[in-house]
């Protein structure tokens, strides 16, 4: 059964996801960060979709379970496109768009295939297990890709504050979810995941809304000051 906290976190997530789209529109940067806006809109629609499936079939139903995990995998793939959008922002001026597109598609297909073959080798396990493992792997590849992007930004001395904050917020989100899914794989019996995943889902819309509203496009920052291992 769901308690008031679950409902509160659910509605809050949907509200913040829609809010992030509104903030991007209000800051007049929706076009520039179009893929990020589309991701947030998709996240809002799927959060609403999950609620509708929950109302019709209940929280413990197979329908809800399947819808939750498959919509999560779909959202992660959308987030890949959002990440690619950020790659294009960083490398766009270097004329590497086509190579980036091909590399991203190959990586995505490769991750899905590897996850499928891992699960296919142990057929006695449930199909939902595949989705949890797929999500864990997708999020982890997301962590690696975001880390590579951040490394490239440090190397290229990227100074656009808005872009820096969008990438770092995405890095926090990917890392938190990858870690959470990995621990969930290790301890599937822990019930706390339900709250943790909701709380983590709040992070990205809040951080992106903040960046869209508070950081002007022309704001600049020395990236070298931000490296976590660097002392001031």
């Amino acid at each position: 059964m769901l308690g008031p906290t679950d409902y509160l976190l659910w509605f809050l997530t949907a509200f913040l996801e829609a809010g992030a789209v509104v903030c991007a529109l209000r800051a007049k940067c929706f076009g520039r960060y179009f893929v990020l806006g589309v991701y947030m809109a998709a996240a809002f629609l799927l959060t609403a979709g999950r609620y509708i499936v929950f109302l019709h079939f209940g929280f413990s139903s197979d329908q809800y379970l399947y819808f939750y995990y498959y919509s999560d995998a779909l959202l992660t793939i959308c987030l890949y496109f959002a990440l690619m959008g950020l790659y294009f922002q960083v490398f766009g001026e270097m004329g590497a768009k086509t190579s980036l597109r091909v590399a991203a598609m190959l990586l995505l297909a490769g991750t899905a295939l590897v996850s499928y073959f891992i699960i296919d080798s142990s057929r006695d396990r449930m199909i939902t297990r595949f989705v949890v493992e797929l999500s864990q792997n997708l999020y982890f590849v997301g962590v690696v890709l975001t880390y590579l992007l951040w490394g490239a930004m440090l190397k290229l001395r990227e100074t656009r504050t808005r872009l820096i904050q969008l990438v770092l917020a995405l890095g926090v989100y990917f890392s938190a979810f990858a870690g959470c899914y990995a621990l969930r794989n290790l301890h599937p019996e822990w019930q706390i995941w339900r709250y943790v995943s909701h709380l983590m889902a709040i992070w990205l819309p809040v951080a992106w809304s903040y960046t869209f509203l508070k950081i002007p496009e022309e704001a600049r920052l020395a990236t070298a000051r931000l490296a976590a291992t660097r002392s001031r």
């Binding site: 982890f140 904050q165 890392s175 990858a178 870690g179």
Partner: protein, 135 residues
């Protein structure tokens, strides 16, 4: 085994990204020098502020009218400061280098609070000037 490895790597990257994110929020403030009036009120002589001053500066911030632009920054930095204090206490004896790093970060947070206070004081003065000119 793979899940355990992913977990460890993810936590390490999470910390790196989070620290860099917080630094990017703070960086907008630390570029700024404190005004003369800000220095007089806070009692801060130069750019080095003791980490212990952070709470006092936050209390002073609470006394100033909010311009409505810095509340989320202050909340984020307060959370970062708490995390750093926790890290310093937790691993301070085992890893003195981490404790030193956390202390430097805490000092930067304190400087952030001083600049935020300075900005609020400037905002209050502006409000007062406007009120006087309206009378």
């Amino acid at each position: 085994m793979i899940a355990a490895l992913i977990f460890v790597i993810s936590i390490a990257t999470l910390l790196q990204f989070f620290v860099s994110y917080c630094r990017s929020v703070i960086a907008g403030y630390t570029k700024q020098e404190l005004s003369l009036q800000g220095r007089e009120i806070t009692g801060i002589e130069n750019r080095i502020v003791r980490a212990e001053e952070f709470q006092r500066l936050l209390q002073l911030l609470g006394l100033c009218p909010e311009p409505g632009t810095d509340a989320s920054d202050i909340r984020a930095v307060r959370a970062y400061f708490k995390l750093l204090s926790l890290a310093r206490k937790a691993v301070g004896r085992l890893a003195p280098a981490v404790a030193d790093w956390a202390e430097r970060e805490r000092r930067t947070c304190a400087y952030f609070a001083a600049v935020a206070l300075d900005r609020r004081i400037a905002y209050s003065r502006e409000l007062m000037t406007q009120q006087i000119s309206n009378v």
